[in-house]
């Protein structure tokens, strides 16, 4: 089943679900005609898209609104904050090609502050699927949640068979590690999983937490990893500020937990636009580059 097939079947059961788009149809191109008036394209109008979604939600509907992640979270930010956040309406915002997935588009299209912006809005939640399997696993929970959500859309083919128990606010504990715990969300999951194997081949005990919902964060899982490992590593295709590193730092501070933390993120820069593999190579986000950074950091601790 694909993302749009799942949406189609959900609309078939529950007519309150509306599939909307600001003419960003890549993930839902086959839905017009299949779901009748429950498909609404507002044209290249992210602000109007979000406002209309709020209006539909005000009438008891569940709009699932699609746009490119940058335009959605940046151009329409005030509409999201004012018209979805303040009234706490169950609008689901789907940001396409977030993070590195914008590959060759350039900085205007790089949604690498989206987690920071969306989690900063009271009532808003954030779902960051690692791949298509997790996207489909989590989607029904997100759509039926009474809260507003930002979905960092990612339908890459999985390289890992996920734990099929999905619970909002719970991370997927892929492994626990006595030396290192890698914390990751979204698209970077796959490279991080491979980095874990590389580190293990060097004799290290490596945990991996897949942060399915950066908000609400799985506080217990993060704090447990901080107490049980010697090094925490946050890995994200996002600016250093406001994303997972910030979330972890806030949690540790609030709970008076001291830990060694290595953030791997984009520090004060946009990334080099290129094909996706070339971006990872250039920016040092391949499994090998991640493993090397983590290994060096771990060595420096001893």
């Amino acid at each position: 089943m694909t993302y749009e097939e799942l949406l189609e079947s959900m609309v078939g059961i529950d007519k309150r679900i509306f599939v909307m788009t600001a003419e960003n149809r890549a993930a839902i191109r086959n839905l017009p005609g299949k779901i009748g008036g429950n498909f609404i394209d507002t044209g290249i109008t992210e602000s109007t898209l979000v406002g209309m979604a709020a209006g539909l939600a005000l009438r008891g509907n569940i709009p699932v609104a699609h746009a490119l992640a940058t335009f959605l979270t940046l151009r329409a930010f005030e509409f999201i904050r004012d018209d979805v956040g303040i009234p706490n309406l169950p609008v689901k915002l789907v940001g396409a090609v977030p993070g590195f997935l914008s590959d060759g588009n350039g900085p205007t299209h790089q949604a690498i502050e989206d987690i920071s912006l969306m989690r900063g809005i009271p009532n808003m939640n954030v779902f960051t699927p690692a791949d298509e399997q997790e996207l489909l696993l989590g989607l029904p929970h997100i759509i039926h949640s009474p809260a507003p959500w930002y979905i960092r859309y990612n339908a890459m083919k999985p390289i890992y068979d996920h734990n099929n128990t999905f619970e909002i606010g719970k991370a997927e504990v892929v492994a626990e590690g006595k030396d290192i715990t890698l914390l990751v969300y979204g698209f970077m999951f796959s490279e991080t999983l491979k980095a874990k194997s590389i580190l293990e081949s060097k004799g290290l005990s490596v945990g991996l937490l897949n942060i399915r919902t950066p908000k609400p964060i799985d506080k217990d899982a993060v704090l447990f990893s901080a107490l049980s490992s010697k090094l925490l590593v946050t890995i994200e295709d996002h600016f250093l500020t406001g994303g997972l590193f910030s979330i972890v730092a806030e949690l540790l501070t609030l709970n008076r937990v001291a830990a060694n933390v290595l953030p791997i993120a984009l520090e004060e820069r946009w990334f080099k636009p290129a094909t996706l593999p070339a971006v990872l190579e250039y920016e040092g986000f391949t499994a090998e580059a991640i493993a090397e950074k983590v290994f060096n950091k771990f060595q420096s601790l001893n």
Partner: protein, 288 residues
């Protein structure tokens, strides 16, 4: 179309006078956007009394008519009308800017009758469009009305919404512009000219009507001639006067936000009834 009877017009005018009193009483102890409120008193009074199918009886009926006050800073006029229509007790208006209630400078849904909060300009049109689309899809025949300020029409999201509403043939949607000729601190035509205003709406695919926003018979003939359900949304450009009813503040760029002394409020209430100009000493507040 039936004309409004003379009795009805008199009733509307008496009610408007009371609503204006409510607005003036809110222009102290913190103040309010009095100029922008007084310009749309007659408009809101007419809509809630004669045009909209909404009352204390059907506030939560999905088939009711909806009004979205997009230029939210004129909320004293809305609350004044609500008090006179029985949506809220009149005494509640005395809670203006007090923390024991939610009566502040912009509308919010804690107040019965408010469909949606506003404050940031250029938002309510698209929200109303979502409501409009849902009502159409459900085969309802109710009306969705959005009140915009003329200054608010500087916002790009207004024009984006107008474009999309016409594309989706939202013919249960009525935009009313409170055309009081002023934006915050300036005359609209001196800063960002809007004229020819009506032809802009027409070019965007809307039906356009005009009226005197202080004449109940004129408001009635405009709103009675709106054709719903015929494929196009409608805009009514209501010509109004900022500060209407108080000659000492009418048409003044510097009387948008007002915070008067209690004595000045008394003098303005007297001015409302006698048209004898009050002696206003309070300093001009340039808001925004």
């Amino acid at each position: 179309m039936n004309n409004l009877s003379e009795t009805t017009v008199q009733e509307l005018q008496s009610r408007a006078l009371v609503v204006r009193e409510h607005c003036i009483k809110m222009s102290t102890d913190g103040g309010c956007f009095l100029g922008a409120s007084l310009s749309c008193v007659d408009l809101l009074n007419y809509l809630y009394s004669e045009y909209l199918n909404v009352s204390t009886e059907n506030l939560s009926d999905p088939n009711r008519d909806y009004l979205f006050l997009s230029k939210g800073h004129d909320v004293p006029a809305l609350y004044g009308v609500f008090a006179e229509r029985g949506f809220i007790p009149r005494e509640r208006l005395q809670n203006h800017l007090k923390t024991n209630d939610s009566i502040y400078w912009h509308p919010n849904r804690a107040i019965p009758g408010v469909e949606y909060h506003s404050g940031s300009l250029g938002h309510s049109l698209s929200v109303a469009m979502g409501v409009s689309m849902d009502c159409k899809l459900k085969g309802q025949t109710n009306k969705i009305v959005v009140v915009l300020g003329d200054g608010e029409c500087n916002e790009g999201s207004v024009w984006e919404g107008l474009l999309v509403a016409a594309a989706h043939k939202l013919d249960n949607l009525v935009v009313v512009v409170d055309r009081n000729q002023f934006q915050a601190n300036m005359k609209t035509e001196e800063l960002i000219p809007l004229e020819p205003f009506g032809s802009k709406f027409e070019a965007f695919g809307w039906n356009v009507l005009g009226c005197d926003g202080h004449s109940y018979s004129d408001l009635h003939s405009a709103f009675s001639s709106i054709k719903l359900g015929e494929g196009k949304p409608t805009a009514v450009i209501a010509q109004t006067v900022r500060g209407k009813g108080l000659p000492s503040i009418e048409k003044r760029a510097d009387r948008w936000f007002c915070n008067f002394s209690h004595e000045e409020v008394d003098a303005l209430l007297n001015e409302l009834h006698t048209q004898e100009k009050a002696n206003i000493q309070s300093e001009v507040i340039i808001a925004r």
